[in-house]
């Protein structure tokens, strides 16, 4: 285990740098509600809008793509790699396998067997993977191993045993008074405990590609939705972002200013989307 990995692991369970009381969270929430209500006034006909990191990025960097119809959903390997990759890292943390490449096959087999036995789809892809031929199945495993390996190598996971929650349900928050706008946040890992009253103390977010200039707002957004959706409205201490493709590990310590910048990014994204929906995507205009 290298010095860098040990330091990164210690950072996940470190005490919060900033205090963040309930009043601060309330101010952030009020600003968000007011901003979204204002920006969403331009959304046509109550058409629903789910805000998430993909929408924030698209609104900032590629607004011309907003308003284009989504592709019909069909299972692909890329849709499996995150949930399978997280199960792989969990299995390795528990000491059951020597590395992601050894864990991938048994983890998939176990998931499919459980689905066949109970009929319950824990990760949704079990029936699709069960029907794949050997070649396609190997691609699913290979993609998940490649996704999981840098996450596995980034931290000293066995040292975090008992404090880690992999995946889990997405955080969701609906804006009161604006039925059409919903916020969805997702982190790959939640780190609990560490003696902090704030729980989870850290969130880990994994993204492909490289961080854009708005990476701080994007990590703060993950914290924002986690805070608003938590029963006790308690903010995590920090969000650590990994961009393995580009070798970046960046973090934000969560304070009121950070959450406020995330709120402003959300409001901007809603306004840009409303504008695009009102005028139509650029390709249609052209």
């Amino acid at each position: 285990m290298t010095t860098r990995v040990r330091a990164a692991t210690a950072g996940l369970v470190a005490a919060p740098v900033h205090e963040l009381d309930g009043d601060a969270v309330e101010r952030v929430r009020s600003r968000l509600e007011a901003g979204v209500a204002d920006a969403a006034a331009g959304l046509s006909g109550g058409q629903p809008l789910e805000v998430g990191l993909p929408l924030l990025r698209r609104a900032r960097y590629r607004p011309e793509l907003l308003g284009l119809p989504d592709e019909p959903f069909a299972w692909k390997s890329v849709f499996v790699r995150r949930s399978l990759g997280l199960e792989i890292v969990r299995a390795c943390m528990e000491g059951r396998y020597r590395g992601p490449a050894a864990a991938a096959g048994p983890v998939v087999d176990h998931a499919v067997e459980e689905w066949r036995r109970t009929g319950w789809r824990t990760v949704h892809w079990e029936p699709w993977v069960a029907g794949l031929g050997a070649g396609a199945r190997s691609v699913v495993l290979a993609d998940a191993v490649t996704w999981a390996s840098p996450l596995w190598a980034a931290f000293d996971w066995p040292d975090l045993r008992g404090k880690v929650e992999f995946g889990g349900v997405d955080d969701r928050w609906s804006c009161p008074g604006v039925d059409s706008v919903h916020l969805k946040g997702r982190s790959e890992v939640r780190i609990h405990g560490g003696g902090s009253p704030r729980s989870p103390v850290s969130l880990v977010s994994v993204a492909s590609g490289r961080p854009g200039d708005g990476w701080r707002d994007e990590l703060a957004y993950v914290a924002l939705v986690a805070t608003l959706s938590a029963a006790e409205r308690m903010a995590p201490a920090r969000v650590v972002g990994l961009w393995p493709d580009a070798g970046f590990r960046l973090a934000v310590e969560v304070d009121e200013g950070m959450l406020t910048s995330a709120v402003d990014r959300v409001v901007d994204a809603v306004a840009v989307t409303a504008d695009v929906r009102a005028t139509g995507p650029a390709t249609e205009v052209a």
Binding site: A101, A136, V145
Partner: protein, 320 residues
């Protein structure tokens, strides 16, 4: 080039693994100052990037090994994207199918019917739908030729490729990106296989490229581009880069030294400037036969290309 004697036999199993791991050679210590100097070398040649009207995606120029090879082969290829869609060929299809089988062997260690498994894998990949469709439309004789070659190479892979210890974190089709010039330039690659847990104190990663065709000198340039990108994105450079030729079982391993990386950076800088539309001396000649009949735009004097001026002294001959 690369003559092989009658006694030559391809490496397999543990011997092949030893060759890829460069067993017996100490893993070089990481040198952050050198890596910073390498970045400086690249960025010192790109200060006037905004003045050039280059092919940009989302406000940035994404540079791949294939783009570098093409643009450095002929100035006419700067505008190659205007020349229409890529045409599939049987050798290209063979390469994609063998790549899929290589992934399968590395990941699960076995395969069934090679062509069936490989097509199945390409279809699941999601990025190869056009190629899968093209293969499906092949004439029976072409398909038979493709099947025979894929089966021949698959048999060699199964027989020779060694199992990899999961502790080494073998990962296939790993995307790698390095950002330069404040994000304006992005070096992008996807390597067939990376082995080794990334470390910050010494080189710990080996990169393997798989080729189903004949050995070519330009393959070394591809390897060096991978080494450069990995050095720029990671705490330490790779200790070795290798091309594995599935048709013959040959393996070409290159240790990654400072000299190799500096040479790769200089080549990369020349290619970036060409792709970004910087006028250069390369416009004055050396067009390939396909492009030589095209009308040439008049060139204007541009910023001086200082690709040979390193910003920091690089020790010669020292391993990276």
């Amino acid at each position: 080039m690369w003559p092989r004697g009658p006694e030559w036999r391809p490496l397999s199993g543990a011997a092949l693994l030893e060759r890829l791991r460069v067993t017996g050679r100490a893993r070089p210590a990481a040198d952050p100052a050198f890596a910073a100097g390498l970045r400086g070398l690249l960025e010192s040649g790109l200060p006037d990037l905004a003045e050039w009207a280059g092919p940009a995606d989302d406000g940035r120029l994404v540079v791949t090994k294939d783009q570098l090879t093409r643009v450095l082969a002929c100035p006419g290829h700067r505008t190659m994207s205007r020349f229409g869609e890529r045409t599939f060929t049987v050798p290209m299809a063979c390469g994609a199918l063998v790549d899929a089988l290589f992934r399968q062997i590395v990941t699960v260690g076995s395969m069934g019917d090679p062509l069936v498994d490989a097509l199945d894998g390409l279809a699941a990949d999601g990025r190869q739908a056009a190629l899968v469709s093209w293969i499906g439309d092949l004439a029976p004789s072409d398909l038979a030729e493709l099947r025979a070659e894929v089966e021949r190479q698959a048999e060699g892979l199964v027989r020779r490729w060694p199992p990899l210890d999961p502790v080494w974190l073998p990962r296939t089709q790993e995307p790698m990106r390095a950002v330069l010039a404040g994000g304006t330039i992005e070096l992008s690659s996807r390597v067939d296989l990376a082995i080794g847990r990334p470390a910050e104190d010494h080189a710990s990663v080996a990169i393997v490229e798989v080729k189903s065709g004949a050995r070519r000198p330009t393959h070394r340039d591809d390897l060096r581009f991978y080494a450069l990108v990995e050095t720029l994105r990671s705490p330490a450079p790779p200790f070795a880069v290798a091309t594995y030729y599935t048709r013959t079982g040959e393996v070409d391993v290159e240790s990654v030294t400072h000299d190799v990386l500096v040479e790769a950076a200089r080549r990369c800088l020349t290619g970036i400037r060409a792709l970004a539309g910087a006028p250069s001396e390369a416009d004055t000649g050396g067009w390939c036969s396909a492009c030589s009949v095209l009308p040439r735009a008049s060139t204007t004097a541009g910023p001086t290309v200082a690709v040979d001026a390193a910003v920091v002294p690089f020790p010669r001959g020292q391993a990276a």
